[in-house]
């Protein structure tokens, strides 16, 4: 394999980042201070803006972990060359665990069931003991404990394999994966239920977990495409990642675009058709006032546009085109999370706040800075994975 490696550096050189790292840290700091001040004036707006930003980035990082788990579980070949980048994305999950902490201080703003005036609501008592503070925070701790252990452990084994190329790391990671997959499904589903469905504790949807998962898997693929394209642009991955890899990622993006629409529509259809007030409240709020515009934009922008763009074969083999689609889908994913979170606060209609953007900047820049650190910590792809040659020689 040495002939493949000669013309492409194996590790990331920080000269490509330069002062931008400090820029990220400075932006994050400024954003945190601004948001902290803003939180003093309007804690409710802060709570929702922060949850919105937090959820957007959490879904992307959970998606990174999901694709690693799928890779190991099915013993995939094609994804070996991009696996390290997925591992880097997933390794941000412990950071997100820390970034969850501010939500603890504004929890009753977000999750109304925590408020004393709702303590005797019969609908809340029906949900005892699931919706009790001790169990709620215990679950959150467990989710992040699991995410951290799985992401860090899989990545550590993968990096160890770079040294001696022993196949036992592949086998061991597969074992970790088999234990992790069911736990991942549980943590993602109940995380979505606790933090997003819990914004209105009267409301429930049996498809909520899988709906959030659809956006999770899709958005992480988009980030992966942008990431490997940026690295290729800087001169990495030469003779390692080819258009064949883009083609596969493009196909998966297409598949999960359709999956998102399928799940989103199924959820809507069941609730709309059954017409039970405590279920329809979710869509009533989002399909009236100015929220209606955003919900409609979501249907068109999150499904029809990427569906038609990704349907023909040639586009998926053009990195620049695929990057354009990836940026578009990520914007739509942002809109999706916005329409999930913010209507619970602004019931009268869309009301953008500067804190929405400040929270995005704060969380996003923090994660980007940590990511840059992770990027340089380890080789850019699993150098001595037994399946690497087959992955490089991929043909669709």
């Amino acid at each position: 394999m040495s002939d493949h490696h000669q013309d492409s550096p194996q590790t990331f050189d920080y000269k490509h980042v330069g002062g931008r790292f400090l820029g990220l840290v400075a932006t994050a700091l400024v954003a945190y201070i601004a948001v902290f001040v803003g939180a003093g004036y309007d804690p409710a707006q802060f709570a929702f803006s922060y949850l919105f930003a937090f959820t957007f980035f959490l879904t992307i990082c959970m998606g990174g972990l999901f694709w690693i788990l799928v890779h190991h579980a099915v013993d995939a070949e094609w994804s070996v060359v991009v696996r390290r980048q997925l591992e880097n994305i997933a390794s941000l999950l412990p950071v997100l665990g820390l970034l969850f902490v501010p939500l603890v201080f504004v929890a009753p703003q977000l999750w109304q069931w925590m408020r004393p005036e709702n303590a005797h609501d019969p609908l809340l008592l029906e949900k005892w003991p699931y919706l009790t503070p001790a169990f709620f925070w215990g679950r959150a701790a467990f989710y992040f404990f699991f995410f951290t252990v799985a992401a860090v452990w899989l990545r550590a084994n993968s990096i160890l394999q770079d040294k001696d190329g022993a196949p036992r790391y592949t086998v061991f990671n597969r074992r970790i994966t088999f234990a992790s997959l069911p736990l991942f499904a549980v943590c993602l589903t109940f995380g979505a239920i606790d933090w997003l469905m819990g914004l209105d504790y009267h409301w429930f949807s049996t498809m909520w977990g899988v709906y959030i998962f659809a956006g999770t898997a899709l958005s992480s693929l988009c980030v992966l495409v942008l990431l490997i394209t940026a690295l290729r642009g800087a001169g990495y991955f030469r003779n390692i990642i080819s258009v064949e890899h883009y083609h596969i990622i493009g196909k998966l993006m297409f598949a999960f675009t359709v999956f998102w629409a399928y799940i989103g529509f199924s959820q809507y259809m069941l609730i709309w058709y059954a017409n039970i007030p405590e279920e329809t409240i979710y869509f009533l709020r989002r399909n009236t006032e100015s929220w209606q515009i955003l919900s409609t934009a979501l249907v068109v922008g999150h499904f029809f546009v990427p569906f038609l763009l990704l349907l023909p074969n040639p586009g998926k083999r053009k990195p620049a085109f695929l990057c354009g689609v990836a940026v578009w889908i990520l914007l739509m994913h942002l809109l999706d999370i916005y329409v999930v979170v913010l209507p619970a606060l602004h019931k009268a209609g869309v009301a953008l706040s500067w804190m929405d953007f400040a929270c995005l900047a704060a969380v996003g820049c923090t994660l980007a800075a940590v990511f840059l650190k992770r990027l340089g910590d380890a080789p850019l792809w699993p150098l001595r994975d037994p399946r690497l040659p087959n992955s490089i020689a991929l043909k669709n």
Binding site: F265, Y268, M269, W272, Y273, K395
Partner: protein, 186 residues
């Protein structure tokens, strides 16, 4: 000059045997470059990249399936809207027929699109492959039965414009094919 089949019947083509997938792959590239049109390779398992080695173009089937899908979609649209909106308008569960109640029709549109697409794909593939068929001239050759075990074959058909028995035979032998045999029909 080994032959198979009924010698008084017309010649189907000339076939040769190869012992491994790599030899078959390289032979296919040479036959492609020699400009033959009507020929095929046979192997016990799919060989990656063989389409390219044979110079095959992208199948037309995908476009036909797209048309099948459109047919299914418009069938559903017609079958749903014509009766429930025009012929016999119904209000079910307080939901009249207008743009906002169209989600009720989506599952049928989706399912029929998928159904007709799937039918077009399966039956279109069978028709384009000339299937089902009961027999093939190559089965007249005993050695060809090994194709489901461990042997690899090439057959150049007599219908090819460049076909001549002598030159094809020489070509197959020069490519390393063994047991080059003229195959007759029944």
């Amino acid at each position: 000059m080994s032959t198979a089949g009924n010698k008084s019947a017309p010649v189907f083509g000339i076939a040769a045997e190869f012992s491994c997938a790599r030899d078959l792959y390289h032979a296919a590239e040479k036959i492609r470059d020699a400009g033959f049109r009507k020929w095929d390779v046979f192997s016990p398992f799919p060989i990656h990249g063989m389409d390219e080695a044979m110079g095959m173009k992208r199948s037309l089937l995908g476009k036909i399936v797209f048309l099948g899908g459109l047919t299914g979609f418009f069938t559903a649209v017609t079958l749903e809207f014509v009766p429930t909106s025009f012929l016999y308008p119904l209000i079910v569960a307080g939901k009249p027929t207008n743009l906002f109640t169209v989600p009720a029709f989506f599952p049928i549109m989706f399912e029929l699109t998928i159904l007709i697409s799937a039918f077009t794909a399966v039956f279109g593939m069978l028709i384009m492959n000339g299937l089902p068929r009961l027999n093939h001239a190559l089965f007249n050759w005993d050695r060809f039965k090994k194709v489901t075990e461990d042997k690899f074959f090439v057959a150049i058909e007599s219908g090819d414009p460049k076909f001549s028995e002598r030159s094809v035979r020489d070509l197959l032998e020069s490519l390393g094919g063994t047991n080059v045999t003229t195959i007759h029909g029944d």
